[in-house]
């Protein structure tokens, strides 16, 4: 029913432009795998190579262990959900869903029954005779999924399927998609540039930038232990200090910056000494007294109330801007604007990381 996918050294060139550079990933059967990255980083290109609309310039793609080189889209056991859904506007819903069966010559009664069954699966029973324009965004989404499931693919490929929906609906559909994936057990490859979506839904995430895969890991690992500055910045906010590694021992290093010397975890810098230190705003503390280590004297600037947390903007003496987030438990005290306080952080929550892994 579901199949694994392996990309081995896959590259894709458009003329002289390399859209995907040396991608290596092994996706397990039944996994919910997301590719996360900013616009234009090559996510769609990867998906189109897996579905067969474009051939890789180099490298091998295996689906269920078999090399699919030369197979056309309709010969691969994949089903693609397009960025804009691509529902056929002139066919009623049930014909949309059963189109894949129609072109395989399945008779009408069987198709109709299959369409109804799938509509139940995606929680839209009885909507078969409606037209596409009668459905809301979320309903169209489910029809697109049902249409893809109708051909019983072993891999579903979804290209930013939620990007056209508004915020509330998007959150609702996250849970829905995840549930459908669990129910069917099909391998999902999901593409998004929304980090919240990727972290919330996936078993594993591959973060991409400029055609290269930066890190592949489960969501917690990605957020808590990013391998480089790009991943750290793309999946969340950071306070960043630039500086030099002084001494290093057992994964920790002391790092000298214009704001003082800090201790933090040391990432894979290669032979470089110059790097940046990343601390997430929610991992910082504000206090009136200096702590033993990793403390910076700051002047409190604007304070913005965000509902579930309070963002405190502050600046150091040399003018660098830092942010601290305080969880709003209902009784949190908010610092005064203009107050001078110490911002500190736990060495285990701060990382010294290289920049993104990009071509020279």
């Amino acid at each position: 029913m579901s199949a694994g996918i392996d990309l081995e050294n896959v590259c894709c060139d458009f003329g002289t432009f390399r859209a995907v550079d040396n991608a290596n990933v092994s996706i397990k059967p039944g996994e919910f795998f997301s590719f996360l990255g900013p616009s234009g980083c090559g996510k769609t290109t990867i998906l189109r190579m897996v579905s067969g609309f474009i051939e890789p310039t180099e490298g091998v793609i295996r689906i269920g262990g078999k090399d699919v080189k030369g197979q056309r889209p309709n010969q691969r056991p994949t089903a693609l959900i397009f960025q804009n859904l691509a529902l056929f506007p002139l066919m009623p819903i049930w014909e949309n869903i059963s189109f894949g069966l129609e072109v395989r010559g399945v008779d009408k009664a069987t198709r109709r029954a299959k369409a109804e069954e799938l509509l139940k699966l995606v929680d839209l029973p009885g909507a078969g005779d409606k037209m596409v324009s009668q459905l809301s965004g979320g309903q169209k989404q489910r029809v697109a999924i049902a249409r893809a499931l109708a051909v019983e693919p072993s891999v579903m490929l979804l290209d930013e399927p939620l990007s056209a929906l508004d915020l509330k609906l998007r959150q609702h559909m996250r849970a829905e998609l995840r549930a459908i994936q669990r129910r069917t057990g099909v391998t999902f490859i999901y593409i998004t540039h929304d980090q919240g979506e990727a972290l919330a839904m996936s078993d594993r995430v591959g973060v991409m930038s400029q055609g290269r895969i930066q890190q592949i890991a489960d969501p917690r690992e990605i957020y808590n232990n990013p391998v480089n500055g790009f991943v750290a910045s793309f999946v969340g906010e950071n306070n960043i200090f630039e500086g030099e590694v002084q001494t290093a021992a057992s994964g920790m290093a002391s790092f000298s910056t214009p704001h003082g010397t800090f201790r933090a975890r040391l990432g894979d810098l290669g032979d470089k000494k110059h790097a940046k230190l990343y601390v997430r705003p929610e991992h910082t503390l504000l206090s009136t007294a200096a702590t033993v280590e990793n403390a910076v004297l700051v002047t409190i600037g604007d304070v913005s109330f965000e509902g579930n947390f309070i963002a405190v903007h502050a600046s150091t003496e040399s003018g660098a801007h830092l942010t601290s987030e305080i969880r709003n438990d209902g009784s949190a005290t908010v610092p005064e604007k203009g107050a001078r306080m110490f911002m500190s952080f736990d060495p285990a929550r701060a990382s010294i990381l290289p920049d993104a892994n990009v071509r020279a």
Binding site: P73, L80, V103, R104, L135
Partner: protein, 289 residues
């Protein structure tokens, strides 16, 4: 001041519509005037006589039949050629596209006289070269088939433009989706692309049909001895006219009006259905949240 200008604009529009329609009314009115000359002044009383004479005018009826089959043929060929060209143009890009598009568009601008003479000369000369000057077989002799080819040469471009405009609103992703679901190329064409293009193809067919009916220049130079309605009316206007032409004009205008009204009613009905569907989609969206 603003109000004044607005009223002026309304007035101008009314005058413009009157300017366009009055000549047609005058022409239709003359069909009912009991006068040997086609005019509405002086009014000599009502009559339906000219309609009777029109029906018994054998040449006119023959010309009418000719016009119809020529128009159907032109519409049919133009639809096929025009649609294929639109799809082709839509799939190529860069310099090839500019060149092809320019060539197709320029056929609309070539004077009909040029199209008529060049079509006539090419086919008769080709016949002469193949079979000698005497006894050239069909299609190398003048006749309405040459008129059809000449008319298609520029009417196809009009169909192409209409279909191309519609293609621009076509989401090519639908074709990929269909291919991804396992459809063959022919199935993609028949089930996905053509249904989307039907409205434009229909409009193109109507335009081609009416353009063919009204064509004079190309037909005049290629028709040989055969008449079409336009050519016949032209010869009648130049020689002795009777108001039978007005009777014919009146009937044609009526047919046009009926078709226009049917089209408009149909359009409104569709707009209503579509609006209702979208309202339903909005309600569904709100219900979910």
């Amino acid at each position: 001041m603003h109000k004044f200008r607005q009223n002026l604009a309304h007035l101008y529009t009314v005058l413009f519509v009157l300017y366009l329609l009055t000549p047609l009314v005058v022409m239709s009115g003359a069909a009912f005037n009991d006068s040997k000359l086609p005019s509405i002044v002086p009014w000599k009383g009502w009559t339906l006589m000219w309609f009777g004479e029109m029906i018994s005018d054998q040449r006119m009826m023959l010309a009418f039949a000719n016009t119809l089959w020529v128009a159907v043929a032109v519409a049919g060929i133009s639809i096929i050629v025009g649609t294929a060209s639109a799809i082709l143009i839509n799939s190529v890009s860069g310099r090839a596209r500019t060149a092809l598009y320019g060539m197709m568009i320029s056929t609309i601008l070539i004077p009909g006289v040029v199209i008529g003479i060049s079509t006539m000369i090419m086919w008769t000369k080709l016949g002469g070269a193949l079979f000698g000057p005497e006894g050239k077989p069909w299609p190398f002799i003048p006749g309405l088939h040459l008129s059809i080819l000449g008319q298609v040469s520029y009417i196809a471009a009009m169909v192409m433009l209409l279909v191309l405009a519609r293609l621009q609103s076509f989401d090519a992703g639908l074709e990929e989706a269909a291919l991804d679901l396992g459809a063959s190329h022919a199935q993609v064409m028949r089930r996905i692309l053509l249904p989307h293009l039907y409205p434009a193809i229909g409009a193109g067919g109507a335009v081609a049909f009416f353009q063919s009916i009204e064509n004079f220049n190309v037909t005049q130079f290629t028709r040989g001895g055969a008449d079409t309605l336009t050519v016949y009316v032209f010869s009648k206007v130049r020689s002795g006219i009777t108001p039978t032409i007005n009777a014919l004009a009146f009937l044609l205008i009526c047919v046009t009006l009926v078709l226009a009204i049917i089209y408009e009613v149909n359009r409104r009905r569709r707009a209503r259905i579509e609006a209702a569907r979208q309202a339903e989609a909005r309600r569904a969206e709100e219900a979910l949240l």
